[in-house]
């Protein structure tokens, strides 16, 4: 059996509420595993404990009970951070640093130096499409650019695991699609990704597995396909089918009634996202 990239066991986190005797249970008895190479989507409404779970996985916040591991090492050990890159929710980096300086800073924290660091910085700026802004201070970056530099920062030591807390929040559709494509490319390279997002369309496109949290409790968990496919229905899509052919097919189906029934006939639609991207892609002068 391979070591899971993330193992969360019976995790509970309780925050005391100042000046009150009540306590707030942010995460309650949560257990889940993320296998290496998977893209795992953690979903749930605001305040359901997604960010808290991520921070505990990264060892930034201690758990009240239970434990979390990254590739078999306890999150509380600083060493376990070598394997993981993190992009927090709505991050602000040092706004007086340029894009290149920011990546150099995080690279140095991971022990990189010299030409390795220089090459890595160039490579990442290119990867996230910020070469043109490398010498501009982050104070002047747009939200989408900040998220991309945040992603680059998370990748600087080539970790095997990425933890992304709402990587596309507040980013326009183009930026958001670019970030999605980057995540897909990480997945192709065999990286493990744990992400949470409210853009369910994107989650559906990129995640292998999802878990749904509500009030700190994991209410559903499993392979995305298993969770959302409608088992007793089948979809067939034709191109250029004549009305006569369609009528024939419908007649065919009607013959095997009541065993089989036709639920719906419709024209498939492109998604609004794709339509929007097609329409606006000509005027690519953002940033």
């Amino acid at each position: 059996m391979t070591t899971p990239a993330i193992a969360i066991r019976n995790l509970t986190k309780v925050f005391p509420i100042p000046f009150k005797r009540e306590r707030l249970v942010a995460v309650r008895d949560l257990s889940l595993e993320v296998a290496p190479g998977q893209v795992y989507g953690l979903l749930g409404p605001n305040g359901s404990g997604k960010s808290t779970t991520m921070k505990i996985v990264l060892g930034l916040v201690p758990p009240t009970a239970g434990s979390t591991e990254i590739f078999g090492r306890d999150s509380q050990e600083v060493d376990s951070h070598e394997e993981v890159g993190f992009l927090p929710e709505n991050p602000y980096f040092y706004k007086y640093l340029t894009g290149a300086e920011t990546l150099r800073f995080y690279g140095k924290l991971c022990g990189l130096s010299g030409s390795t660091l220089r090459d890595k910085t160039d490579e990442l700026l290119k990867l996230v499409g910020l070469e043109h802004a490398r010498d501009r201070r982050l104070g002047g970056y747009s939200k989408g650019m900040l998220q991309r530099i945040g992603l680059a920062q998370a990748l600087v030591q080539e970790p095997r695991l990425l933890v992304l807390d709402e990587p596309t929040a507040g980013v326009d559709p183009q930026g958001s699609a670019e970030i999605r494509d980057l995540i897909v490319s990480f997945k192709e390279r065999g990286m493990t990704v744990l992400l949470c997002s409210h853009l369910l369309g994107q989650v559906q496109e990129i995640c292998d597995r999802i878990g749904i949290l509500a009030h700190g409790v994991l209410v559903r968990e499993g392979r995305l396909e298993d969770l959302i496919s409608i088992e007793d229905q089948t979809e067939i899509i034709f191109r250029d089918a004549s009305p006569e052919l369609l009528a024939e097919i419908q007649a065919l189906v009607a013959r095997s009634y009541p065993k089989t029934s036709l639920v719906e006939t419709r024209k498939p639609r492109t998604t609004l996202e794709r339509y929007f991207l097609d329409v606006t892609s000509g005027s690519a002068s953002r940033d």
């Binding site: 916040v61 927090p88 040092y94 640093l97 991971c110």
Partner: protein, 309 residues
Amino acid sequence: MPAAVESPSATPLARKVKHRFFSPARVWALATNTLTELVRLKVFYFLLIFALLQIGSSLLFVRFTFQGQFQMLKDTSLGAMSIFTSMLAILATANLLPKDVEDRTLYTILAKPVPRFEYLTGKLLGVFLLLLISILVMGAMFAVVLWWRVHVVAGEILSGGEPPDAVNQNLSELYASAYDPALWAGGLIIYTKAALLASLTLFVSTFATSSIFTISVSVAGVFIGQLLGTARDYWQTTGTLAPNSLLDVAFFKPVVLIFPDLQAFNLVEEIIAGAHVAPWLVAKTIGLGVTYVLVYLFAGYFMFAKREI
């Protein structure tokens, strides 16, 4: 051009770079980053005020005898240096930690293999670098003004038309009153005091809930640290407070332990006044400062390690 060949199964960087329990390179990266932050926040503008003060005071004191003139110049310059570095130490440090917490930058740093102790040490070292640059620049300005005044006064002596013996006598008196090597020790003590205040402020900011609170407590620390030692000495010499009495042990000693005993650093004033100060006293004062710095750093680490960020 041939396509670049991907090296098969290149070891990821993370496994090539070995993590160490304490890495001077990481601390240095944090320190220089802190320094860059502060410099780009334009904190060095206060040096302009210092320069104006220098020039203004040196012009103001022209009408005194040169001994009086140089004494006044040393008083104002080193006095201003002391106040400016102390203020800079408190103001520059107070917001470092709260800002990183608020912007969630701290998450991105601590999510890397960076122990919290290194983070705090790096921040403090960054402020130390800032203070070092500030005091060196102020010292250089002071040296330039001093040299300029000596130059002017020497010119007056040489063209005064007195007999050569008297001229030589006057010149050597001039140099003696202007250049005092003990001023180096004064600068060192001023720096140590500022470093102490920076680490006190960083310690307070590890548990404070706002920067206003941090600044208030640190400034209060300066006054209490200054007054308390004096008060304790006074009451002890007048016999109101018996050494090791209950009041002394239960109140004064703990308070002096929490708030730094800044009275020792008044040694600077004696140095400025030209009194002979034994080197061991200077060393002892600096040793005291270094001890406080380490105590506050470890206390700060203790608070920060437990803190939920």
